[in-house]
Symmetry: D2
Subunit: 345 residues, 4 copies
């Protein structure tokens, strides 16, 4: 049994890690840390887990933790992560970090969008944890930077198209919409039911911190720097991201030709489902699962391609992808513990 | 591999059966019938199942079906079921019927609340499929009548208390609330998003057809006929039932004493979770799972006990319990294929 | 023009008072106090009010405030209110207090359910602000205690029946369900969208502080003390309360007879709508309005009457009723400023 | 009193017309037609209107109707409208048509996106009912074509910018999101609560029939034909549209300069509110009102402008704007009957 620990177990990502890992056949949860609920059984903090785990929340002791666990999932805010992860690695654990701190390879870009980086020496080592693009490197990694939720949906949608060179990256416009779980479990007026329900709005237009992460990976796929427009929105629902992406076609392509490019690119992937021409993805069809569903439409009138990707932001956009990464790092079948069929309705 | 067929695959219950059965390790889905979508792949009707099943919907041919499948789940409306089930049994299949047609042992009561019964001869044979009460009989049955969603929540909440004799059955008032999936997937104005969302109402006050089903089982537990008040309500959400049940205590009991009665009664059950005193069940903590969570509160001021039970109406209230019954009938571990942890948030 | 001030303008009740009063033809809002947003225009705190008021939030100065305003609405927490209201009255203002502090006539009962009362001397003077029962006394009052949201729905539902003596008050069971706005606008994890959405639960079973308020008014109507069972629940929606109330009939009555009792009792009321037999109230049909819709069903099988009342908890359950009370106190037509038709869907 | 009739009173638009008109001080509703509910009081079809109107639904008799009413609102499907409106006009009524049939000035374009037009002779006469652009012509019109919901949000957002020439119309990408009321009140599986709730999807990508309507008006503002990308999405909520619009700036402009352009353009408009730089519109802040809230953000990195507009699709996107048009046609103050403050939460 692989011994795993969840650092930051009081948020939605931490809870989802517990949900997935408590049924993972090759894994034993040995620790769940959260200062807020220290000493409380995790299944009393999250009653949906009642009877499924007997872990008691503890305060964080980095060194002790690393000694007890083979793999640690760090589901803590950025800045906290960069101060913590080096000590966990030094103490011998492997780490899947769900924060933003090790996703950007260039410390200067990180510091431009976030704040000074205290552990830039680890950026070169960290592997961007998108298995569909970096499977081999993830398998060999000691530190995996789990992708952001929005970037996961956007990069998976665009990778086949940029690789095939059929869209012009300079024209990329990304209009993304996320459920409220993306805002976390911290008490805040803006995330109250009454503020979110029966309402819709954009936020951080042109300024969201996932922008450089998307640009890094898009640029990597294009072989040159790319600047995109990115607008996130808040949906009146809990789980799910849909990204609607616009790009000008470099060559005329039919829906069927785009479909073939997509299908071919993902033909060996178990967590990417490409919608047939004429069908479109919907967040309710991936809810609770690790799938990314991708659809598209060629708009002949404007010569633009519209690509749409749907994920569950808590699963493929966070905890599920983290488990997928751990499976790869540990030499397990990549989908182990991630077999859940989407829950609809 | 056990060969199973889903009769009536176009509704939410049928889709949920497919969702559960497509991952069930001992089962192969050999048929899904629905006139409406005949000839269409099931995963095109329900895109959340994309890639998880290659079953193509077919029209119903009772005899052919029974020959190809060992177990049939009939997820069709009442009245349709009673005309169909006998032929399936005759053709050699075992049946878990999810309609109301074989739940009431007394044909006269059935006919009083529904309409004339065309197959009353099967009522004596049919076993009421609540495993927590009828496990052994279910294991030996050829025809199991899967309980209604409301009755499942109510009977599980009350069984320990009536068995222990601590509440007066004459005082029972059942105030139940259900998510919109209980109204089915048929097109109807009353079930439109705009009619249900941000709204709440009661319906069929004192007239709901689950009333005699609850009374039958409550009466069985008491050893005498019981008449209850039952009021169902429609919640602005998709999945979940919470029943709030009021009864006068026959003897003074503390919360802790009630807890012990509950815990003892369900100590060997894997799908009933009893909340500790001071905690209360919530539908969001059982969503997508086969659990029934039960809580309660002694109200010393009124000498009444308030018992609350939460289930996912589509799982423990329908498809999940049906799979649980099939597992029992087939000699499989009762929880096989039902391991899903509740999805929260 | 009547000069009014809103004390506690940062919550949902305060915002709703502003929403109603900014269009009230006889009223000028002269102050809105909230420490949290002091110095900010109210319509920047609540952008739905943009362009409709130019009030700037200010910190509370009781004496200054009372000098500038004829009427003050105190939408502050209990305990805060009882420390504030006396000074406002002394300074010459009339007060509609939306807290619980002046609703209970008996200080001992208040202290049993809340905490010590610092201004018990005002309890005798305060008028319980349910216009349908206390219209004349409200018109003459200096201090009106605006009813709680749950009690408003329950008392209006029961008043005709208790007055007519057709139900046994000892058998009263009140099962109420409220939207999330009832929990206020303070940041709290329990009220986050993800905690409330697609979920349903009871809370404070048998212990909610609205219980003695209901019992006081029910007792008043019966002429003797009454003890009730009261269970509140949290609905996954923003606005609305539905109370489902059970009582044993003291005499056999038909639905039509009950309807006549209800209609007669409320025949001159403009904000109570009695549903015809066979129809039931729904919260979505009173949303955004000051109506209380009441329905009922005689259950012949159990000899119980089920009564249901729907209100918008923010309007008839709080701010709307407060404006109705102010209208009465000021000698204005009772419905002035409260003409809004329910918003459906 | 102006006598008005609602043709097609069974849908959400018809019900909203009734809601607005029943409180309109200068208007008397003299007829509401709907075959489906013929003979039923309108307030029994829509219980939120209980007690507010005594109109009984009737079947449509075009000539009789035109004789009894001064103004008719035709809230019927396209194609039905074009067969009906000419006879209403001929019989002497003025018409605000809420269908798409008279919005496009070019019959050929209409026929390309819809079907053959049976009354093309009326296209030249019909005035596009966006008061902010066509106020004077509306006032003089006999037939007003009430704009589509999406186009209203898009055209109002873009009019100042295209007029000022600061954006390149060739680069326009419109990503719109609508609540479920836009799909109407007809029974359909796709609009069921369980299909829409907790989910999000795009539909009719690049093919929605509002595209030519937007292009017509954008082209008018630019003085030349324009082709846009338009993607509508379905939000899990009832009311509200948010359109997020991307365009490349033709000249470098600051947020403040854009703000000045917007403010200046709409300085005399009572139903358009321009958000201050740094603030963004949200559908929950216009709910139930006739406002269009507009915000924007200059993205210096990409030299694109992102403009966002929020409306209540049932009010400013349909019934409210129709009443605004009727007010203009009848010489009444434009905002009469439309004073409702947005309902939040």
């Amino acid at each position: 049994m692989i011994r795993v620990g969840i650092v930051g177990a009081s948020g939605y990502t931490g809870a989802e890690l517990a949900r997935l890992l408590c049924r993972h056949p090759d894994v034993e949860i040995v620790a769940a840390t959260t200062r807020q609920y220290k000493g409380r059984p995790l299944d009393s903090v999250f009653p949906h887990l009642a009877g499924l785990t007997d872990i008691v929340c503890e305060d964080l002791d980095a060194e002790g933790l690393a000694g007890r666990a083979d793999y640690l999932f760090t589901a803590v805010p950025h800045q906290t992560a960069m101060n913590l992860v080096p000590s966990l690695l030094t103490a011998g654990a492997k780490v899947v970090d769900l924060s933003a701190d090790f996703r950007l390879r260039d410390a200067a870009i990180y510091e431009q969008w976030y704040q000074p980086h205290s552990a830039p020496g680890y950026l070169a080592e960290a592997v961007y944890g998108l298995p569909e693009l970096y499977r081999d490197r993830i398998a060999a990694a000691r530190l995996v930077a789990n992708p952001g939720c929005y970037p996961t949906s956007v990069i998976l949608a665009l990778a086949p198209l940029l690789t095939a060179g059929v869209i012009d990256p300079e024209t990329l416009i990304v209009d993304s919409k996320s459920g409220a779980s993306g805002a976390g479990r911290g008490a805040s007026t803006a995330s109250l039911f009454c503020e979110v329900s029966e309402g819709f709005r954009a936020y951080k237009v042109g300024e969201h911190r996932h922008t450089p992460e998307i640009e890094q990976e898009i640029g990597q796929l294009c072989g040159r720097p790319v600047t995109i427009s990115f607008t996130p929105h808040l949906l009146p629902m809990s789980r799910g991201i849909l990204s609607t992406i616009y790009a000008t076609l470099t060559v005329r392509k039919s829906d069927l030709e785009i479909y073939e490019i997509m299908r071919e690119f993902y033909r060996r992937e178990s967590f990417v489902r490409v919608c047939r021409p004429g069908e479109l993805p919907a967040t309710q069809h991936v809810r609770g699962s690790n799938y990314c569903d991708i659809g598209f439409k060629v708009d002949l009138r404007t010569n633009r391609l519209v690509v749409l990707a749907a994920i569950d932001n808590v699963v493929k956009g966070a905890a599920g992808q983290a488990v997928q990464n751990m499976n790869l790092m540990a030499g397990l079948p990549e989908g182990r513990g991630l077999e859940a069929v989407p829950l609809f309705p």
